[in-house]
């Protein structure tokens, strides 16, 4: 645990260094308003990374998050168009997202299909459903009510609502992961599924709840995304699931399950968010952005592997000691 904390400190430091480098050329980038903008811009990634990290903890992966986001966003836009009040639209997005996650979870739990296959399939199905629902038509800004579009941008105590939602989700799931039996089960099931069975935990059921959480967060983000950009169409957030997984990997979530913290995932998302927002300011082309994000992922994996070797040495020392 101490090493993990150390790791998060290191990632935090990397983000600071990044900010300092950018600020050296463009001091305006680290003005509070600009940083708030970075946080707000990264909020969808943070929300999805929290869900993804829980799924990865249980030794699974959810590739369908971006498609769920797009589907829930479209449904939110259509409900809005049909005159449903905003609180109900929000509720419907979250519930629909949770249901989509439950489909993934049930397939993984009851049919014991590997999650990468299940979610690769549902990813396509969920995106396809958007097309079936709309025939490929877009829902544009003028078809959305003002309150629908304004809610995520409303400023409360200096921060937009979307940022507050991300912060609330971080706090809520930090408590779930560290202070509830379900949170403990996520770690136990991913750390050693066999031992979890022998301890009386239901591995499949635990994985199911991880998928429900991931789906519900994707549903919530779906509304926020569509409202913020004021447009809904089939290809919303296409490929975004890879950014989400990348944020988790950079954040030190063990891809083999059972290890990692929510703050790691959030910092991983912020790291990507800072790169995405800062590099255009410095005048670096989007292709370099991709290369830098990619290098960060590889570095994170190398770092993880190095850490594991170090642990081996600690074990040897303890065995030698009398």
């Amino acid at each position: 645990m101490r090493i993990l904390r150390h790791r998060e400190a290191l990632l935090g430091l990397a983000i600071l260094v990044l900010l300092v480098i950018v600020a050296a050329r463009f001091p305006a980038f680290i003005r509070p308003a600009s940083l708030v903008n970075v946080l707000n811009d990264t909020s969808p990634l943070i929300l999805l990374a929290i869900g993804q990290m829980i799924v990865i903890l249980t030794k699974c992966i959810d590739l369908s998050v971006a498609a769920s986001l797009a589907l829930c966003g479209m449904v939110a836009a259509l409900l809005n168009g049909a005159g449903v009040p905003l609180p109900l639209v929000l509720l419907a997005s979250v519930i629909l997202g949770g249901a989509l996650g439950a489909v993934n979870g049930l397939l993984v739990w009851k049919l014991a299909i590997p999650s990468i296959v299940v979610t690769l399939g549902t990813m396509t199905i969920y995106r396809g459903s958007i097309f079936l629902m709309t025939n490929g038509a877009w829902v544009n800004a003028h078809q959305m009510t003002d309150s629908f579009k304004a809610f995520p941008r409303t400023i409360l105590l200096g921060l937009p609502v979307m940022s507050w939602i991300a912060l609330a989700a971080i706090a809520f799931f930090a408590i779930v992961l560290t202070r509830t039996p379900l949170g403990r089960a996520f770690y136990a099931v991913g750390g050693n599924p066999h031992a979890a069975v022998y301890t009386g935990l239901d591995v499949g059921r635990t994985q199911f709840w991880a998928f429900v959480i991931s789906g519900a967060l994707a549903g919530l983000t779906g509304y926020l995304w569509v409202a913020r950009f004021a447009v809904a169409y089939v290809d919303v957030a296409r490929g975004f699931e890879l950014d989400v997984v990348a944020a988790c990997v950079i954040g030190g979530i063990a891809i083999a399950g059972g290890a990692g913290t929510i703050f790691g995932a959030v910092l991983g998302a912020l790291f990507l968010g800072v790169i995405k927002n800062a590099l255009p300011v410095v005048g670096i082309s989007p292709f370099w952005q991709m290369a830098i994000s990619g290098s960060a992922i590889v570095l994170a994996v190398v770092f993880n592997a190095a850490q594991r070797r170090q642990k081996g040495r600690i074990i040897l020392k303890q065995v030698d000691a009398p």
Binding site: T180, P181, N192, H194, A195, G200, G258
Partner: protein, 498 residues
């Protein structure tokens, strides 16, 4: 006739354990030598020395009169020593021919794989051992017996002089075993020197020409199998070697706690019935594969029996899941600690409290202070010296990990605790601590089931011993009859008179 392979004065120690002390072993051309010994006698260590996996601390290996060393597994294979293990080390996704030739496949002049020679060579080698397996078949589609054939064909492809069969029949059906006997005859006829490791006496008498007996890492005797009776072999195996000290305890056996009646499983066990009392340690002895662990897993709800009932105290219970078992007060410390017991990435205290969380949390929230207290109480009872309870479990030694797994279940305050090979693979110090602790638990009125393959442990700790063979209870041994010979005879299926 001089032996093909001869070992003299071989010793091998591990920290705290003398696995082999000054042992000898001779293997002769065209003969089968059976290596006999209890668990822990050093059989698998000598196989590893022979195949270059372990380096002996002292002693010589002589092959065809020349002194040799096997610094690596490849060097042993090159010298002509091949082992066929219980679970053959082959590749399911490759074809039969590829498995036979992997690593030394015939090449064309251009250095590419010569597929025609590979297939024809495989067919020829298989034909030599009387098999018409298709060289192109995927290995994973074959049964275990056929996989043995492939492993043996592979041994022939490297011109092995010495073939080691390490409990090859453990997972075979009756018919397959007889096919294996024929195969051994073929290998004998080809002049191979064969080392045959088995626990089953009927097998040894069926195919072995010679025997060598080890006990506690020492050489006890050897000779022609025709000159020795089963009784003499059993005596050599168990000897008078029980000098390990077990805690003395007052027998204080109370009312029945657990009654199992008519327990059946479609494939693993049948007609199981026994009663366990308060304060009792009930030993389960048997050979590997006798169905003991499978029975315990069913009692703990990991698998479901097809028939049968369990009575806990006065209630009849049906155990369908681990949850039911835990609710009934039955807990199980599994045999394979690394795989089934420990969650190495979780801190020690979280490993201990994992099944007890409903007791330590309040209103659905975990109370870390209570978890620490519970973990501290039970680790102190087990005399666990860990730097800190929030340390990752994986950083502890095997013996200490075992203590944590036991602590986890004691913290549930069970009525019945099942310990499956509780001291397997842990150091002598931890072993004594676990034994001490089992005695204490029984004294406090807990009912203990101990599955163990170590005869001294079974006899030293148990009030009663149930012996299983081939999925059935075949004997219940108490009082005067609790001797090593009774257990070995019952487990191996030798009648008392022999």
């Amino acid at each position: 006739m001089p032996p093909v392979l001869s070992l003299r004065g071989i010793s091998k120690s591990f920290p705290g354990v003398k696995a082999l002390q000054d042992v000898q072993l001779d293997l002769y051309q065209g003969q089968v030598t059976a290596l006999i010994g209890e668990n822990g006698a050093g059989k698998s260590t000598i196989v590893k020395v022979l195949t270059g996996i372990y380096q002996p601390d002292a002693g010589t290996i002589t092959l065809d009169g020349k002194s040799v060393r096997f610094p690596t597994a490849q060097s042993a294979t090159r010298a002509g020593v091949t082992a066929i293990h219980q679970e053959t080390v082959l590749f399911d996704e490759l074809s039969v021919a590829e498995n036979i030739w992997l690593g030394h496949a015939p090449r064309t002049r251009l250095g590419l794989l010569d597929w025609r020679s590979i297939r024809e060579g495989a067919r020829r080698l298989l034909a030599e051992i009387g098999s018409d397996l298709d060289p192109d078949q995927r290995l994973g589609d074959l049964g275990i017996a056929s996989k043995h054939l492939v492993a043996i064909a592979r041994a022939l492809s490297t011109d092995a002089r010495v073939v080691i069969l390490d409990e090859p029949t453990a997972a075979l059906s009756h018919k397959e075993i007889h096919e294996l006997y024929d195969l051994v005859e073929t290998l004998k006829a080809k002049g191979k020197a064969i080392l045959f490791i088995s626990h089953k006496f009927d097998e040894i008498y069926h195919i072995a020409d010679r025997y060598t007996v080890f006990r506690d890492g020492q050489f006890v005797g050897e000779g022609a199998i025709s000159d020795v009776t089963e009784g003499q072999l059993v005596h050599m195996m168990v000897g008078r070697s029980v000098d390990q000290i077990f805690p003395s305890r007052a027998r204080n056996i109370g009312d029945p706690v657990l009654t199992v009646a008519g327990y059946n499983h479609p494939t693993e066990f049948a007609d199981i019935g026994f009663t366990l009392h308060r304060g009792e340690i009930l030993g389960f002895y048997g050979l590997v594969g006798a169905g003991r662990s499978e029975l315990m897993q069913a009692l703990f709800g990991i698998t479901r029996p097809s028939k049968g009932a369990v009575r806990i105290g006065a209630d009849i219970r049906v155990i369908r899941s681990t949850h039911d078992a835990i609710a009934a007060g039955i807990v199980y410390v599994p045999e394979d600690r690394g795989k089934q017991g420990a969650i190495r990435a979780l801190p020690i205290f979280q490993n201990i409290t994992l099944p007890s969380l409903s007791r330590t949390s309040r209103a659905g929230f975990l109370r870390l202070a209570r978890e620490f207290k519970l973990a501290r109480d039970y680790t102190q009872r087990l005399d666990l010296r860990a730097a800190a309870l929030d340390q990752e479990l994986g950083l502890l030694s095997g013996g200490n990990q075992q203590k944590v797994v036991i602590a986890k279940w004691l913290a549930m305050r069970p009525r019945v605790i099942i310990l499956d090979e509780p001291t397997k693979g842990i150091d002598i110090g931890s072993k004594a601590a676990v034994h001490e602790f089992m005695a204490e638990l029984a004294a406090e009125g807990l009912a203990v089931i101990m599955v163990s393959s170590e005869i001294p442990e079974v006899l030293g700790m148990s009030d009663r011993v149930i012996v299983m063979r081939e999925g059935r209870i075949i004997d219940e041994v108490t009082g005067e009859r609790m001797t090593p010979e009774t257990l070995v005879r019952a487990a191996a299926g030798i009648s008392e008179a022999a």
